[in-house]
Symmetry: C2
Subunit: 451 residues, 2 copies
């Protein structure tokens, strides 16, 4: 859907809603793919969403709810009555049902679970046992599994049973008598094998699986590394207990990236949040850090008022010293955080990376310090002043570049999210060190030149 067509669709829906054209709207809604309905709803306000969602067939409503963003469905989940909600959630696969149920307040979740069919609610309860952000919480319990002694024909019979109950699937998993995962069968292999062959003879024994307690970010790395579309989940005894599909993993990757960006910029997760004071609140910690660090920078300037009073042009280069330090620190930090997130940088590379960045800092410092020193010397017709500005710029850049690399890696080493380090911490320290270097050198040179 292009932006233009989306805009037109939204206009039409709004007109029909204002005319209360329920039958027309119902038909219209069902001509779209559920994913498109979800995206249309995400652009409407809460009352419109409620009105339209009411018109959907349970089967479609279930798909739409699954596809909606968390923030877009938050209001809807609050308003739907438990019967409708359990009808809609009951048609989802177990992983999607858990997704929705876990967003509900505790009591409401219980209410919805009681309304659902016993086996469906049992599955949801089972999945809810797993800690958030683990493979166990991400998985669906719906898998097609056969015994290793089964024949191809028996495997096909198992698929026949599963095909109506499950969404799409691409693998049959093979287990031993104790339920332990021993192999995997791509469907294409089943299609081309003789019907009396044993599954164990044609299966793939090198099956990549993930343990139930693996962190979801690591699960995503496994998908990326081995180019998977689905991965089986096993418990501590290696027994097959579920499977994770690539669409869920893409969502995880997206969330983790947004989280990283949010942390680096200190914004929290507020892309679609509408209430201004909530947004301001999410950004508050970062703002407070800036305020405090700004006051520290300010007191450094305050401490050097004597120097500044004796040579006022020093003030002209204050913003450039802090801006360059901040930017170069941010560059080094964002490269490092991204590299850590993608697994392209490992913490044992700390010193190699720091050295690399220090070299870059030297180069950029020489260039920027040189340019700026020259500008200062010519502008104020004072070579000594140029030297102060140049050397200070060089030092500030070198420190900023090195810190920008070292701090995120150190944070990762002690299990703190490096993205946090890249934001508040780097900017704060760079402003302060940059100013101290600049005004310190200036004071020393003034003493030396003037006495």
């Amino acid at each position: 859907m292009s932006e233009e067509s989306l805009r037109r669709i939204l206009e039409n829906f709004r007109r029909y809603i204002s005319q209360d054209q329920r039958f027309l709207l119902r038909d219209l809604l069902h001509t779209f793919h559920p994913a498109d309905v979800a995206s249309i709803l995400s652009h409407m306000d809460n009352e419109e969403v409620e009105y339209l969602f009411d018109l959907l067939e349970p089967e479609v409503a279930s798909e739409v709810l699954r596809e909606m963003d968390e923030d877009a469905r938050e209001h809807l989940l609050k308003r739907l009555d438990p019967e409708r909600l359990s009808e809609v959630v009951g048609r989802m696969e177990s992983d999607d049902a858990v997704d929705v149920i876990s967003e509900l307040p505790r009591e409401r979740a219980e209410e919805v679970l009681r309304e659902m069919a016993p086996e469906a609610s049992e599955e949801v309860r089972e999945l809810l046992q797993h800690p958030e952000d683990t493979a166990g919480r991400l998985m669906a319990l719906e898998v097609v599994a056969v015994r290793q002694d089964d024949t191809v024909d028996q495997a096909i019979a198992a698929i026949r049973k599963a095909v109506d109950e499950m969404g799409e699937f691409y693998y049959v998993y093979v287990v031993d008598d104790a339920g332990r995962l021993v192999g995997v069968l791509p469907l294409a292999r089943l299609l081309v094998s003789r019907s009396d062959r044993k599954v164990s003879e044609i299966m793939n024994q090198d099956v990549v699986s993930v343990p139930e307690d693996m962190d979801q970010e690591e699960v995503a790395q496994v998908f990326r590394r081995y180019d998977l579309v689905a991965v089986p989940v096993v418990d501590r005894e290696d027994r097959l207990i579920g499977r994770i599909t690539v669409d869920d993993v893409m969502e995880v990757l997206e969330e983790e990236t947004s989280e990283d960006i949010g942390r680096m910029a200190g914004t929290g997760e507020t892309i679609r949040e509408e209430i201004a004071w909530k947004i301001a609140g999410a950004r508050f910690p970062w703002i407070l850090t800036s305020l405090v660090s700004g006051l520290i920078s300010g007191s450094i300037i305050g401490a050097f008022q004597g120097t500044i009073g004796r040579f006022l042009p020093l003030t002209v280069f204050i913003p450039i010293i802090t801006a360059m330090g901040g930017n170069i620190g941010l560059q080094a930090a964002s490269i490092t955080v991204r590299g850590l997130a993608l697994g392209k940088i490992d913490t044992f590379e700390l010193w190699r990376r720091a050295l690399r960045e220090a070299r870059v800092g030297v180069i950029m410092g020489v260039f920027c310090g040189g340019t700026l020193g020259l500008v200062a010397a010519i502008w104020h017709k004072n070579p000594a002043f140029g030297l102060v500005v140049g050397v200070a710029m060089w030092g500030a850049i070198l420190v900023a570049a090195t810190m920008g690399t070292v701090v995120p890696i150190l944070f990762r080493k002690v299990q703190v999210d490096p993205a946090i380090a890249a934001g508040p911490f780097i900017t704060m320290s760079n402003d302060i060190t940059g100013l101290a270097i600049y005004l310190g050198i200036a004071t020393a040179m003034l003493k030396w030149l003037v006495g």
Copy 2:
């Protein structure tokens, strides 16, 4: 592989390399999954990579080369002789082969293509016709397609032919007599259907496809929206010409995100780059922007030297005004850029978003301006000074928040990457407007108070 085990593996490999234990290393290498070999190689230096890659069987070498990062394989591609390279590339699927070939210098690419089997090099040449970053360039030509009048048995025969030549696949596509895509068959459906049924009776007619000239970022959105594992690619006449799989799309998403982050921080794509002046060069445009904007900020301060000379404590709050403006602008901009990238913000929402952010700016401005004004008034025992600082802070924050939202959306409207706007442009303009507001208000108040 944990970091600890990776570190130990690297140590072992290095020891065996220094002892020139070729046979041992060859056996060792082949016990790993090719993706793991690629990741091990990405941690070694160029000579080690060459040495180890030489030991790999062509089949494995092909997988390893495919899995390696662009930056890690750059050197390898320069050094491998054309025969070995064509042997290795010849075993890849067409999309991966194109990936490698397009990284080679023109002449070397020609050399390798001449060495390859004619049909393989023909395929690569065909794919190279498609512009970079389009669906056509991303796709593989290997698809299993059947006619709509074919029976299930005939479809299985087609799969039998494909299963040895292709990697894994999950769908059979259905075309009409003119080769136009008319449906899709999940393999599970084939497995449970009677062998004499017509394909057209059991196929799925609602098939999501993408046109060959669709931008790869849009292709990724299609995968995310419809939760796909593969998508067929069609030409202008709707004829089936290839398919894109989800692993390639995940790579695209990752690249685009890295690109966005790189642009916002002004670093370019240099996570694993080792040569310091190349890294410095990639960051240069951003640094130059900072320098220029710093000089503009400096000349604003220069223009107000009279005011500053009359009341020196004004200098104390210069870094906090620029830091807060910069941070709040970055917050607003990174939220906006991320929202645009995920399709959660549309350009027609410009004014609604701007208003939202202005409200946030007012709230944060009142809080920060108030706090800072109070600090200034008490610190310098001067309420008028507190008022100047407070009002200036408030104004700077309001402008920064609003600009941070408006600029990226405007950039997207005129088809410029919003990530570029979020970086250099925002910081530059915020420093300048912040200082102008601060010193302008101070000058006016000084005139008014002192005359």
